[in-house]
Each structure stands twice: as C-alpha cells, then as structure tokens.
Amino acid sequence: MAGELAEGTAERPLQDYRPLPGVPDEMVDANGSVRPLWSRLAAHLASLTPADLSDNLARADRYLRDSGVFYRQYGSGISTERPWPLSHVPMLLSQTEWNGIAAALRQRADLLEAVMGDLYGPNTLVASGRLPAGIVAGNPAWLRPMVGVRPRSGHYLHFLAFELGRGPDGDWWVLADRTQAPSGAGYALENRVATARAFADLYADANIHRLAGFFRDFRDALLDLRTDSDGRVAILTPGTLNETYFEHAYIARYLGFTLVEGGDLAVVNDRLMIRTVQGMMPADVIWRRLDADYADPLELNPASRIGTPGMVAALRAGSASMINSLGAGILESRAFMAFLPQLAPELVRAPLALPNIATWWCGDQAARDAVLSNPHRMSLGPAFATGLPFDPANQQIPSSDLTPEELADMIAQHGSNLVAQETATLSTAPTLVNGLLMPRPMTLRVFLARTSEGWTVMPGGFARIGATPDPSALAMQKGGTAADVWVVGDGPVAEVSMLRSTHGAASRGNPGGLPARAADNLFWLGRYIERSESIVRLMRAYNVRLAEAGPGNAALLAGMAPLLEPLGIDPERGIPPSLLRNLAAAIGTAGAVRDRFSPDAWSALQDIRRSADDMANRVTPGDDAASALSALLRKLAGISGLVHENMYRFTGWRFLSIGRLHERAMNISALLAVLADPDAPEGALEVAIEIGDSVMTHRRRFSVATSRETVIDLMALDPMNPRALRHQIDRLREQIDALPAANELGALSPLAREVLRLHAEIATADPAALDSDALWELRGRIAGLSDLLTESYFH
C-alpha cells in the first residue's frame, strides 16, 4: 500500500519530486516550483516526519478498513474483494478552474440530453444526415424497445459522470461520457472522509468545498420525482458480485433508499412493485446501477438473470421514473464524440465549452480520408467501445504500429466499426510511492446530477492515479489508485449537512418495505451467527473433556456425538471446518444486506472469520482448542452486541432476531434430548448446563445436586433463564406477532398460530413428561417454523 514507508526513509517526501519530461504536472510548474494552489499541502507534507506521515496515512486506511470499503476485482475466473486503493494525496483544483469545468460539463450534459431525446424520439439527427445511421442502428446499446418511450420524469438523463484529462497545453479534455449507470460517487464520498482524516489539520480550514450538499440535492430531486407520496425510491443493483456493489449498498444507506435487485421487483398491472415482507409496494423511482440491457429479460437481453420481466412495459406505461432511462448507454460509445462538437451549436446554441478528445468515425468517407492523410498520434479501436482511450480493454491499436497499407486496409474493411482517436496525453499528479511523492498520470471523474434547478455538479470527484508513468495502467483492475479531489474555495465554504433538507423528516418517516430477499438474508444471518455460537460452545465443552482425559470421559465424548452430527462437526479437528463454513455463510448473507448492516458489525464478523481461519491451521484438539474456542466465543458475543444493540428495531431486526431465537431453540431442544436423557453417560447433565451457560444459575436456584429434573426445569421451562427453551419461544412469539400480517382482523397467520401452540405447550409442560422423544418432536416442530416463515414472507 502506498502509505507504508520504505525502511529507513529519512528524506522528506517532496525532495525528489520531478515532473516527467514534457508532461505538465498538477503540483509543480515547468520550472519545478510548487504552484500557489498546492503550496499549503506541499508545506504540510514537507513538515511531517516520515513517522508522522505514516501515522496520518494509517488513519485514512484504518477508516476505510473499518468501514469495509472494498471493490471487487476479477481475474482468471475468480473474483475477490479488495481493499479500496486510496491514493492519500488529494488532487487540488482552484475555484476558478473548477467553475469553468462545471459550467462546461453542464452544457455537455444538456447536449447529451438533447441527443438522447432525439435518438429515442423523432430521430431527426439521423434523418437530416447530422448523425450517421450506422452509429445508431449498429450500436448494441441502442435499445429498440425503448424507442418512442417518453420518460415520465420528462428527462432521459439524471445522473452523469465525465472523465476528464488535462492535455499538454494545460487545457482540460473530455475523455469519456458516462451515461449508463456511472459509478464512483459513493467512493468519492468515502475518499473524502478518509483523506480528511489523513490531513485533518489541513482540511478543517483550507476552504475545501463539501460534498454532502450534492448528495442532499440529488436525494431531494429523486424524492420529488415520485408521483405518489407512498412510492419508494429504490437503488437497483446487479447484486453482490458486481465490482462496485459496496457503493450501491453504501449510497442506499447514506441516502435512505431501498436497495433492490431485479428479483426484488415485479410488474403488476404495468406498475413496478417491490416484493416486501408486507407484500407488494410501489417502486416509483429507480436509480439503477445495472446496465440497461440486463434490466428486462422479456424485452431486452433474454439471457439476463438479474432483471425484472416487464420492466420495459412498466416504463412504457409511464408508471415509474428510471434514472437514467434504459438505453442511455448509447451515448457512451466513443463514435459519438466524433459528432458532438458539430451538434453543440445547434442543440445547445454554443460551441462546446470543453472539447472532447478528437475522434473520427471511420464509417464516414471524409473522416477516413482525414485519418489516412494524417495518421500520426492516433489510435484505432472499436467504434462502440466505451472505455477510456488508453484502456487496454478497448483493443486500441496505435496507428504507429500499422503500415500505411495495413491502416488503409483496416479502415476499408471495418470502417463503420472503427474510430480513430487522437493519442491522449495526461498531466501528472503527486502520489506517494514508498513514502515519496511521485508524479503519475491522472484523470478526473466529475459527477453531475439533475435537480429541479438544472444540473448540479459535485464540487470534487474522483481522480484516478496511474500505477506507473504509463497511462494504460490507470484502471484499478491494473493497480491504479483513487484520490480525493479538493476544490479549494477562494474564501470560507459553507458547512452542509444531509439533514438540512425539506424532505428529511418525510424520508425518515417510512422505514417499511423491507424487501423479501433482505428479510430472508437477515433471518439466515441470525441463524448462521447463532449456529456458529452453538458449535463453539459445544466444541469448547467437548475439548475441555478431551483434555481432562479422565476415566469415563470417553463414554461422555461418545455420548455427545448425536449433537455433533446435525451441525456437521468433525470432532477430530480443533476448530471444526463446519464452524468456518458457517462463518463464511454468515458473511455471505451479511454481504447481501450491507445497506442494513452496521459497518462495525461487518468488521467484527470479518475479524472473527479471519481469527477462526487462522486458528484452524494451528490449533490442536484438547486444551489448545478449548482456549481458542473461548477466544472466539468472546468475539461472537461482541458481534451479538453490535448487531442487537445497534440495529434499528424494525422489521429487518425482527427477522434477524427470529433467525437467532429459532436456531437457539432448536439447538437447546437437541442438547437436552441428548444430554438430559436418562441413559446419557455420567457427567452429561453438567455438560448440558455448561453449554447452556447456566452453571451459576443452576447453583443459585438448586442447592441440590444436578438432576434430570433440575436441568429440564432450568433449561427448558424457566421463563427467566435467557438460555432456556421457554425463553426463546416467548421471544419468538413476540417477534412473530409483530410481523406484518401476523394478526389481521383477529385472524392469526399460520406461522403465528403455530408459535402460539408451541408456546402454550411449553408453558404448561410437565417436566417429567418432557422426555427425549418429546424434545426431539418439539425440535422438529420448531424447525417447521422456518418453512412457514419462508412461505409467508420470503417469496
């Protein structure tokens, strides 16, 4: 990681900073002097000892780690979660320069909206010859089912990003338009928090524009797009395997919107609905992070398994607003950059204020001639690709690699599928490499959101910093990093808060509409955590006895076998693999409800899994395992605390609790059925109260010796013992009664009825009659609650 200092580095980080020859640098000018804008930051960096610098950077890294910020990296068939690669040094921009960029991008956004409206409307641009038909009709991102569908909101585009680079003469260029489902705004926010921690002293009074106002304005704009005050705003994610899933969950949590996957939505009478535990609820505004082609397997890509059948029909009926319209991705094709400059004067009544990178579409004879007559400093690539000009994924071929004949041949053969683009050069910005500042190529991603007052620009953004001086290594998948962007105001900037909104109260007032899938995941999360705890308690007791190795212990250990089997425990291993599997499953389900799960609980869960994985490699059965399991038990208790004390007491929390109580009730029933059996080996009753964490209580309540009756009384029937079966059933009943539709007009749901029956039976049970058979039967009926719950709420 960039923040770690090389051993023994004594120099100040700036000492050897030299711009690359012939390449403009953001921080220092051609003479090597630090630009005035950067002088405070540079002086600050220079004033830090290597140790202080290292400490400061570690603060940012710790924040990112604790918040669980990650992205997903793909490679050779597997994908892994990677820590967020922050380049700690922010990229600075002056207010004046920023104002120019922001105004130019607003103009470009208006231009794109006009083009979009024409491509999906009257198509006059093609009819009049101003756009070639080929770049539309041959473009896979032009979605024919959306042609003629007017967006309900009145606009096709609501949230955009632009990639900018600074050319050799110091002017900015647009390198790419992001109109499909731009990512990065949430990461920009996390970059800001992390960077502000690393440079806390500097940040507080450096007049840096805050980002929260941008998000607040866009949130309010989305809420205003609802036509129904009960309608929901949902963020549509492709799911947990998407590379930027973290951001989808993060933004949903930050803005208070519901995070949904395609399967959470359904179309009923041409309305888009969210399947929730309370039934279908209207989804009025969708901010999609899903590529449009995948949104509807019926009318768009039939291979999509992450879409919603009927989505296009709902939009055709005008029953929801889609941010951005399905089909907006067409504007990302680089071929459009060849035409936007000519279209601007007509469509936005002014030439482009910020040029885009020079582009020629080779389907056009004049462009072909231009490319052939001046092939220097150009590269050729697919016309409909959307990547940055220097991104290797574009299969871009520098024209210098081709002979004139090859070039002519390629253009003649593939003309309309090719664009030529001027070779982009980028400015460099400072980043820390082994504790020293080094110049690295930089691009800027700027975000725009539509509000009722027009486009608003996030005052900051997201800078990509290359891993090497070669601009082809900018992508994160190739080792690039991301830096915060500080727009330095000319005077003090206003503090903004998310709460200073007219919608604040309204948007908080309705936390209902828990998606059924989220409820399912929370229920299982509760079960996996509890099951992990059961395994740990059981195996601790087992290993303690294994270590004692006294006479009769072999019989006792054998007597515990019927408890191990249902939990998949292999007692030969100190840390049983089934525990690792359960923890992995807990993380999997928690990952799917990241928007509803506290970041602290998430880190705690990651932490315990790491510990368990680590222990599994070295812990041996017996004493060693017993003490390792005790350590894990303490960590698990910490998670329970974080989850149960910090989670908002609403429907989601109920499902989590139900999962937990349900699993615990089953495990206690089995525990008692096996260990409180009259035929159980000597010492089994003590094991039962130890696993049930009831040793002290037993001693206090019963001064007599441990007997089957005292154990059944304390662990099955005592409503005051929080580990007793009775207690679990009491709590289960409370939680289930509070679920939606549990008790409608006096009619109990099948689930509520069954838990009521169980409750009555246990509350009136005779301890003597509660033998092993009765306990196994109870366990079976408790298990059946899971099916009833699934039927009622998870479809």
Binding site: A127, S128, A137, R144, L298, P309
Partner: protein, 292 residues
C-alpha cells in the same frame, strides 16, 4: 388468396408453474397492399390475469399476458381470416451488390424498414466466418442483389437437410450450419448470416405457410408448423424482397406474415417464463386453408 387460419399452442407442465409474464407474437400482420387481416381472435385458456397489446419496434403486434400461478396447462388459440396478395413484380429491379454499400449509406432513416437495422450482427446471428466463406463461394460474380439472394437460397436448399430432430429452438446458426441440418429457423438464420456477410441487409420473417398446396403443386416443408423465412434489402429501387430458403422459392401468396425482426429473438412466438422452465412439453399445430 383468402385464408382461414387456426393456430393452437398447448403447454403442459409436470408441476404447477408460477404465474408469469409472456409475450406472444402469433397474429398475422396487416401489410397494406400485401396482406389484409379481416378477422383475428386469440383465446388464452385459462384466461390471463392481465392482457394488453402493443406494437414492437419492427411493427409486430405483441400480446402481453400475465398468467395465473399454479398452472399445469395453458392453451393459446388463434383464429384469423387473412387476405394475401401475390407480390407485385417479377422483374429484377435490385441493384448490383457492388453498389449496395453506397445505397445503404444514402438511407437516412431509422424506421422499422430501414436497411440499417439488418446489416450489423444481431443477438442470434453473430458474425460467423464459416458461413461467410460459404456465402462468398456461392455468390455469383457481378450479380444483382436479387440474384445473390436466389443463388444463396438455392445453395442452402441443396446443401442443407430439413430435419426437425437435428436442432432446438436455441441452436446457434453456426452449429446448424456445421451439421447442415435444421428447420426453417435454422435455414433462415444461416441465410441471413450469409447475406449480411456479403453486405446485403437481411432479416427474419415469421409466419405461416398454406397447409394444402394449390392443385398440382407439392406440399411445402414446414406447412404443419409455424414458419420462418428471410427478407433482404436489395437496393434503393427494389427495397425488400422475401425468400424462403426451406422451400427454395421467393415468397408470394402461399405465405402469411406475422412480423419482422433481425433474427428469431425479435420474433419468437412466445417469450417468457415458459420458455425457460425445463420440465414442460409444448406442442403447436397450424391449419391454414384457402377458402376461395
């Protein structure tokens, strides 16, 4: 020719299936000057919970349905009376294929009949080198687009075997071509791929074929099922022509059109959850009888 048309599609499921959205493209099209629908009804059994119609991008009528949950069987019955006229001209007004690229570029129209939609690869018909070299080998030198269409259609009819067992509805054109076997869908998609590789815009037509041939004519392949053929854009003057490679003939009054698309995916008679459920059996039967 006036036809009475009956189409029945019947699906049976081994276990009850959940309700789902379906799109049907099974009704004959109104095509001014070529085809006139005098009457058309579609009955869904059991009745759909939701039902509406819309025209897709290429102008095909689509019936949008939501079926109730728990179905073991569903039936679609379409009955229609359709007047079909023979195509007007037998003169070859098409352009030499050497001129086609310029004529296509001169078209500045993105309406449903614009050739621009039909030249690039589409979902079911990606570029395929094998088919492209076959096309080149069977393309007469210096020919008009119309002559190329006919030459390719005849070549495919000669080299491919009609075999209802050899392919499935999802078989890629390249695979059917490699096996040189298939049904009308495969013949058509292979021919479209071949025409596009030669620079001739080509699309997919779904429809019906009369069941009983006119007196003295042989019964045509594919007459007892829904049918598909090819249309090709042969120049500014000639516009579109239609060719049936399964029967090696230009399309005339024996065919009844449902709709157009770039390939099967655009015109599939049924799209929706029934298509993806594995444990099902579907049958359909077609009767198309000339009434005058």
């Amino acid at each position: 020719m006036l036809y009475r048309l009956n189409l029945s599609i019947n699906y049976k499921f081994q276990r009850p299936v959940g309700g789902g959205r379906q799109l049907l493209r099974i009704t004959p099209a109104d095509l001014p000057g070529l085809q006139e629908v005098q009457q058309c009804t579609v009955m869904v059994t059991p009745p759909a919970l939701e039902r509406s119609n819309f025209a897709d991008f290429f102008g095909t009528e689509v019936i949008q349905l939501v079926l109730p949950a728990g179905l073991r069987e569903v039936r679609f019955d379409m009955k229609a009376r359709v007047l079909r006229h023979a195509s007007a001209s037998l003169l070859d007004l098409s352009s030499p294929i050497s001129r086609l690229a310029d004529e296509i570029q001169a078209v500045t129209d993105l309406g449903p009949n614009s050739p621009h939609h039909f030249l690039p690869p589409s979902l079911r018909i990606p570029v395929d080198d094998q088919i492209a070299s076959y096309a080149l080998a069977n393309c007469p030198k210096g020919a008009t687009a119309n002559q190329v269409v006919e030459a390719l259609g005849k070549a495919l009819h000669r080299d491919m075997l009609f075999d209802a067992e050899a392919t499935e509805v999802d078989t890629p054109a390249a695979e059917a071509f490699a096996g040189r076997r298939g049904v009308c869908q495969d013949f058509s998609q292979i021919m479209i791929s071949a025409l596009r590789s030669l620079g001739i815009p080509a699309g997919y037509v779904s429809g019906f074929l009369r069941t009983v041939p006119p007196p003295g004519k042989p019964r045509l392949e594919g007459a007892d099922a829904m049918h598909a053929w090819v249309r090709a854009w042969t120049g500014t003057e000639a516009g579109w022509c239609e060719y049936d490679p399964t029967n090696a003939c230009f399309v005339s009054a024996d065919h009844v059109t449902i709709g157009y698309g770039r390939d099967y995916a655009d015109t599939a008679p049924i799209t929706g959850s029934m298509r993806v459920d594995g444990s099902q059996s579907g049958r359909h039967s077609v009767d198309i009888i000339a009434v005058d």
